[in-house]
Amino acid sequence: MACTISGAEEPRIIEQNLEIAQNFVPMTAAEMQALRDRCRQYAKDGRFELYKTSMKFDNPEARLVHDFPLDTTQVEVKDMIKEADNTGHAWPRV
């Protein structure tokens, strides 16, 4: 890993991030492996990454360009359209 990109919506966050970078001490190879081992059972099936595929976090435009079905009679799809405020029009008419 070379770089961590962090967003900052106020100057304080930049200062906080810089302070973290200033105090950053890289983990050893053994420490990194221990962390991987500890996280493996929770990370391997994506149960905490629902935002990647769950319809709850999806939007119509993304589904259409990926050739996924978009059945607008489904309650879930109706909710998604409402949440996403996005009707699925092709770019640039998003």
Binding site: C3, A8, E9, P11, V65, H66
Partner: protein, 185 residues
């Protein structure tokens, strides 16, 4: 280039006194000798901290270990404030600024482009293309828009945004797809 009155060294009376005390100086210091990053009580003790740099993969670029994202930055309402934030980051060695065509309908790239005026050559500008399976020509149009918004003639890194669905790889590699645009660019 528009001069930003706040982009330079931030020297408050409290910060100046603290800096002078730290340096063991009680006499008057000429204004041109004031350190560029004087801490104040409200700020972390960053001093003249410069973020370390690392090789960025196989690109041949050296990036700071901390980079600045372009979405949240553009949510700050005031361009002057954004300029100050970018200046502060750059003053501490941050040299990589990430963005995407899609961020805030283009505002992400526009705000960063304005804030990087005069600094373009010393930083790594990254943007991402969001074709999501649309064709190569769409990607190239997005690239041209990104360049205009970012006020530059080139990106240091152009990457594919939001690879999250199981069929994204096949869409990316499809004939006349976005990968051909990346190769062409």
């Amino acid at each position: 280039m528009q001069e930003n009155p706040k982009a330079g060294p931030e020297v408050s009376r409290r910060g100046f006194l603290k800096g002078a005390a730290t340096a063991g100086v009680s006499a008057v210091i000429p204004t041109d000798k004031i350190p560029t990053a004087v801490e104040t009580k409200d700020e972390p003790a960053l001093g003249n901290f410069q973020a370390p740099k690392r090789p960025l993969g196989k690109t041949g670029l050296e990036c700071s270990i901390l980079g600045m994202g372009g979405f949240h930055l553009a949510t700050v309402g005031d361009q002057t404030e954004i300029n100050n934030m970018v200046a502060k980051a750059a003053d501490h060695g941050i040299n990589i600024f990430d963005n995407a065509w899609e961020y805030l309908n283009g505002l992400g790239e526009e705000r960063l482009g304005a804030a990087l005026r005069g600094r373009r050559e010393s930083v790594i500008v990254v943007s991402s293309v969001c074709t999501h399976g649309r064709k190569q020509d769409v990607a190239m149009r997005m690239l041209e828009q990104s360049l205009v918004r970012l006020q530059t003639d080139h990106l240091d890194i152009w990457q594919i945004h939001e690879v999250i669905y199981h069929n994204d790889p096949e869409l990316i590699y499809a004939p006349d797809g976005v990968l051909e645009a990346l190769t062409k660019a």
